[in-house]
Assembly symmetry: C2
Homo-oligomer: 340 residues x 2
Amino acid sequence: MDTQITIADVAKYAGVSTATAGRVVGGYGNVSERSREKVLKAVKELNYRPNMMAQSLRRNTTNTIAVILGDIKNNYCNRLIYAIEKEAQKHGCNVIICNTHEDPLREYRHLQEMYSRHVDGVILMSAVKDISFVEESYKDLYAGDMPIVFVDRTIRGLDSYVVQSNNREISHDAVNYLIGLGHKKIGVLATDDYSTVRERIEGYRQALEEHGIPYLPNLIRYSQQDEETQDYKQALENIREKKVTAIYVLNNNLCMDVLKELKKQQLSIPEDLSLLVWDDEEINDYLDITTIAQPVEQIGKNAVRNLLKLKKKEKDAEKITENYETLKADIIFRKSCGTV
Amino acid sequence: MDTQITIADVAKYAGVSTATAGRVVGGYGNVSERSREKVLKAVKELNYRPNMMAQSLRRNTTNTIAVILGDIKNNYCNRLIYAIEKEAQKHGCNVIICNTHEDPLREYRHLQEMYSRHVDGVILMSAVKDISFVEESYKDLYAGDMPIVFVDRTIRGLDSYVVQSNNREISHDAVNYLIGLGHKKIGVLATDDYSTVRERIEGYRQALEEHGIPYLPNLIRYSQQDEETQDYKQALENIREKKVTAIYVLNNNLCMDVLKELKKQQLSIPEDLSLLVWDDEEINDYLDITTIAQPVEQIGKNAVRNLLKLKKKEKDAEKITENYETLKADIIFRKSCGTV
DNA sequence: CTGAAAGCGCTAACAT
DNA sequence: ATGTTAGCGCTTTCAG
């Protein structure tokens, strides 16, 4: 039984017109003190709650932003959501969450839904690696009039607004550190060919080359974190075969699998193998694993702010100068990297 | 620049009335094959996307559910969100996320927002411990015509729909197991006086009493997981002082703190102290910690289903018989509990 | 300062 | 089978 109280009810109860009632509720225009009081009283007594669907329809703004992510369960995503929700609240926005399970088709569907919902904007960690992979009919999803801010990754070949860590630089620094410790054969464990991963590998390569160490592509293994296939085992073994002295893990998802496997093989860190991992989690602290910590809170926060700016720009026709925001990640030095 | 294409545009382009266009787009009523084709063609060419705000306003249903949680960052909540989003998708619903930071005032505000948004329902992990704590003017938030399904916790004194684990039973079993190992002084680390915690403690007490072991309230310590106050240290010390042989941690949030502290004190598990923890996480597996694993996926799934049933009931005036759904948790026996 | 009324885009009852 | 039209609840222009 939906007994919605409308602005008309309030107006009638207060003995004014809907316009006047609307003015005081909405807080705009001029209303006499007398009317204001009457309306406020009516609102209170009737327990009036504006119907946001009607408001949104009329005002063409929904106070809603969407976050479309590859894998909600992921710790990075989780923290991102936390930060986004927090910042969104400050701006009076609610947050819709969508999980693509890293499937571009789902991503398209979600984007369509969000167009339909007329959300104020979307924060997107895209499952699409390259714009050339998306069918023509879906391309406009990424270039319509709905503001999109990308986080963590970019779609290659697409001009877009992005907020992410300084992947290349910090990756370079981390590998430099490893090299300084004497490591020359450094295995890399990566998820998939996302822009982020590429940038990190670029940094890796750059550091190697600066020291005249050959860059060997077959020291890099890609592994979907997938419980069934146990891909990572294969990847890990492949890397170990090459007699690496250190493993550089580009994604914390993969870290636990590595740890378990090393434990099973009774290998200890850093004595038998050094380990350097992306993304800080509590266990890294507990196990003293040297880690690259991303400024996730800040990324989420800035993504929301940029998004809202974009939305405003839309009206003001004012250009945003920066469309590529890079935030500094930190290396947290612990004890998982030894000399060689 | 918002150039929304409306059903009227589609109709005009297809050379039919808005009603006909609406019928084919909405998939109801009877339309000739010829008209259908024309409309479908128009939809495609114009790239028409229905305006969901208008739909929602008209149909008074939003295909949106909200999840209001105490602490989004929490692993349990994270997994819950994952499950909820997944199930909601299946029913064509999007999910709004709200974080109360365990603050009842924020919870009220979020509930009000959701009333305003006319969401189809709310899944709530309430920060409110007892209905008598909430001011009169807010009480109707929990008893309005917006369906609410509680997860994990109940508000004491409020008749409501709940989906949660069999806290008392499984807690009883777990403590029984500890007792069977010879433990008599079992310290408990809890978060706060939520219904969930109470139930778990009841199970603990029951197991003790069945074995004629005295129930000592001061073996139970409450500790907000709060990075600043380091409450847990105090709590942990208090417990240790009592010469307990096992610690029973009711919430995984607290587990990491305990582990770190024990490590610092160079205490090993289970030799120096046994440990049994609620909520399974990857690290528990890695560190071989015996754990009570909740069926989080199932809880999320059922919460969504029940919610949607409730929403339907609203119309059908059909009663839902069960309003209290209890799902079985499991004890995963590993190696953190020794004999004494 | 206030009120009447148009209209956001869609659905569905009603008429043809 | 198809079209006309009256709202859903709100905002806001335009008159007064």
